[in-house]
């Protein structure tokens, strides 16, 4: 009567390899959500492309904003566009060298271990910090009389609003992206590459400068582009620290310094101002500016994608 032994019985269909109904529903839900996610992204991009083409006129790119009440009188967004470029450039000029240096220290040195752990958690905190809090901090920091040369002062009261102040705080917004990506890139390089360099008699500094950083170039590029994306999408810092004044308000007539010490605006500040909830309330202008900003973000994303896919194709260390 060996046939009665449980081992010989076929397994019940529900417990084994077969997909139960709940599993099928789950898998279906995963498909649905995945496709929905793509659809939402596509909808946002296509919506802004359509609205942007409808409302963007070449004249908008070369005229300055004017505070007025109708679409025909409010001008374009030349200064905000330039403001975005200036702010992005200045913020990354601070964030990139600092981020690379921090990533190198965290990945290659990291002693004392206590400082490394503190620094790591602080980078994480800065990444999660709302930029409006950073803006408040910047307002207090650059309002200190000793830093008056970076903004304007009237009757001894330091304004604390300028391109310098905004760029300094926005560099903190971009910094975590650079650090995280460069660090990941450095850690992906196996230890034997470093050892080979040491074995040739190279110093650690030379190894970092000539072997590790060149090898981590794709990650540096990715981090820079992602950080730049963060910087130019920020609005809170622009409104509080750059003044959100639509056009450049130079601090004095010194050519470049006067501009950078003065207040201005970026595309994000311009969109916020022209949204129905803002003071300007010119949605057509907001759409046009949002279209330009979206193009910048899309370009940065395409850049990241091409770097990521290219670095996947190259030969891995082995």
């Amino acid at each position: 009567v060996s046939a009665a032994s449980p081992a010989v019985h076929p397994r019940p269909a529900s417990g084994g390899n077969a997909y139960r109904l709940t599993d099928r529903i789950g898998l279906g839900l995963a498909w649905l959500l995945g496709l929905m996610f793509c659809a939402i992204a596509a909808a946002i991009v296509i919506y802004f492309l359509i609205e942007g083409i409808r409302f963007l006129r070449p004249s908008l790119l070369v005229t300055n904003p004017v505070a007025a009440s109708s679409e025909s009188q409010t001008g374009g967004f030349l200064d905000p566009l330039l403001g975005t470029v200036i702010i992005g450039f200045m913020a990354m000029a601070i964030a990139l060298p600092m981020g690379v240096a921090m990533a190198v220290w965290l990945s290659e040195f990291g002693r004392p271990a206590g400082l490394a752990r503190v620094a790591e958690s602080i980078i994480e905190m800065l990444a999660g910090e709302p930029s409006v809090v950073l803006a408040l901090f910047g307002l207090a920091l650059f309002g200190v009389p000793a830093l008056a040369f970076l903004s304007q002062a009237t009757h001894g009261v330091v304004l604390g609003q300028s391109f310098f102040a905004a760029a300094a705080m926005l560099s903190i917004v971009g910094l975590p992206m650079v650090v995280a990506n460069v660090r990941e890139g450095l850690q992906a390089i196996p230890a034997h590459v470093r050892e080979a360099s040491y074995a040739l008699g190279k110093t650690k500094t030379a190894t970092i400068r000539r072997i590790l950083l060149p090898a981590a170039r794709p990650s540096i590029a990715t981090g820079t582009m992602l950080g730049l994306g963060r910087v130019i999408s920020d609005t809170a810092v622009v409104l509080l620290l750059l003044g959100g004044t639509l056009t450049f308000q130079n601090a004095n007539s010194v050519p470049l310094l006067g501009l950078l010490r003065g207040t201005g605006d970026t595309l994000t500040g311009y969109i916020y101002y022209n949204a129905p909830t803002g003071d300007g309330n010119q949605p057509d202008k907001a759409y046009a500016a949002a279209f330009v900003l979206m193009l910048m973000i899309l370009a940065l994303n395409l850049g990241v994608n091409s770097v990521v896919s290219r670095s996947r194709k190259t030969v891995r260390w082995s």
Binding site: A30, C38, A119, L141, E184, L240, P283, N301
Partner: protein
């Protein structure tokens, strides 16, 4: 090939030490910067907390009227008024954050599992850049979509005129609502969660999954029972980090949440979803022009300090929760 790339007796060592010192000093500077951030914001916030005590976090009176009084008291050079009860703002922050995090968690978990294990390769190739794109869309653009598309839709199609009439004495339902805020916030924080979840799920050792598959368990079950369970620390970390982002979201919420410091009450039934509110961060940006009045400035810094400490706490929890995953070699 410079001469100084190579070790000279004594000299090369000192070059390395110098580099280590400089880089370490820079890292120390950033640490000091964060301490300065904590110090400055707390210092500026102190008068507001000192005058109100714990009542700062409590309910009482209309926030709009309080802000008005605080602002004018600074302008007229009279004795500064600090009375401020932030509960409606805090409640609004809690509702939007919790709502968005709960929905985003479920959706992100499914999408992350799908991306790692079940999606065909072509779809995986699309989903990855899509996640990155949605994470990098500026919040002012999300706000613009909300205020020009979603808010009118809610106002015209989801709220019936009788519902509008039923609350007219108290509040106007114009579409800028909890529902709009939660929906857009969900889309904004999902990519952050998905990115962290995917990194964690990818790091689950293949052998563990194969062991389960070899026992005849189907792939779906295997991945949920073994993969997702192994990655639990990462799920916590991703959720907490996304919650920090949701808590600090400023611009989008100031555009779509209605901009009225009102506390929607879930006891009222589903209509509370359509009621406007105003979260903490949005309050700072909506009143940023009044910062010239000293008592108002201290009040805004107090709101900032609450945000600073709560997001820092969440980020720290997220960072700590991720650490156990190092065992499997994840450095996300």
């Amino acid at each position: 090939m410079d001469e100084d790339d190579f070790l000279e007796p004594g000299q090369g060592i000192s070059q390395d030490q110098r580099a280590e010192l400089w880089l370490g000093a820079l890292v120390f500077l950033v640490v000091a910067l964060l301490l300065a951030l904590l110090g400055f914001v707390t210092y500026e916030a102190w008068p507001s907390f000192a005058h109100n005590g714990l009542a700062w976090f409590g309910a009482g009176g209309s926030v709009d009227e309080q802000i008005q009084r605080i602002f004018t008291s600074g302008d007229l050079k009279e004795t500064p008024v600090y009375t401020f009860h932030a509960w409606p703002l805090i409640w609004s922050t809690i509702l939007t954050t919790v709502g968005a995090v709960v929905i985003a968690f479920v959706a992100s978990l499914f999408i992350a599992v799908f991306m790692v294990e079940f999606a065909p390769l072509w779809l995986r190739r699309i989903l990855e850049p899509v996640v990155r794109l949605l994470a990098s869309v500026p919040s002012v653009i999300y706000g613009l979509v909300g205020v020009l598309v979603l808010v009118p839709f809610i106002s015209n199609h989801l709220i019936s005129p009788s519902e509008k009439a039923s609350v007219t004495p108290i509040i106007q339902l114009s579409g800028g609502s909890l529902l709009a805020a939660v929906l857009i916030l969900t889309v904004m924080i999902s990519p952050i969660m998905i990115a962290v979840f995917v990194d964690g799920l990818r790091a689950v050792p293949r052998g563990w999954l194969e062991g389960s598959l070899a026992l005849g368990i189907n792939p779906w079950r295997t991945f949920w029972k073994v993969g997702v369970r192994t990655a639990r620390p990462v799920l916590v970390a991703g959720t907490v980090l996304a919650a920090a982002r949701a808590l600090g979201e400023t611009i989008m919420l100031s555009m779509v949440s209605g901009g009225v410091p009102f506390s929607p009450n879930p006891v009222d039934g589903l209509i509370f979803l359509f009621e406007p509110s105003q979260p903490l961060a949005a309050t700072i940006i909506r009143n940023n022009e009044q910062i010239s009045s000293p008592p108002m400035k201290h009040t805004l810094y107090a709101i900032g300090a609450v945000l600073l400490f709560s997001t820092a706490m969440l980020s720290f929890i997220g960072w700590a929760a991720k650490r156990p995953m190092r065992r499997y070699g994840v450095v996300a």
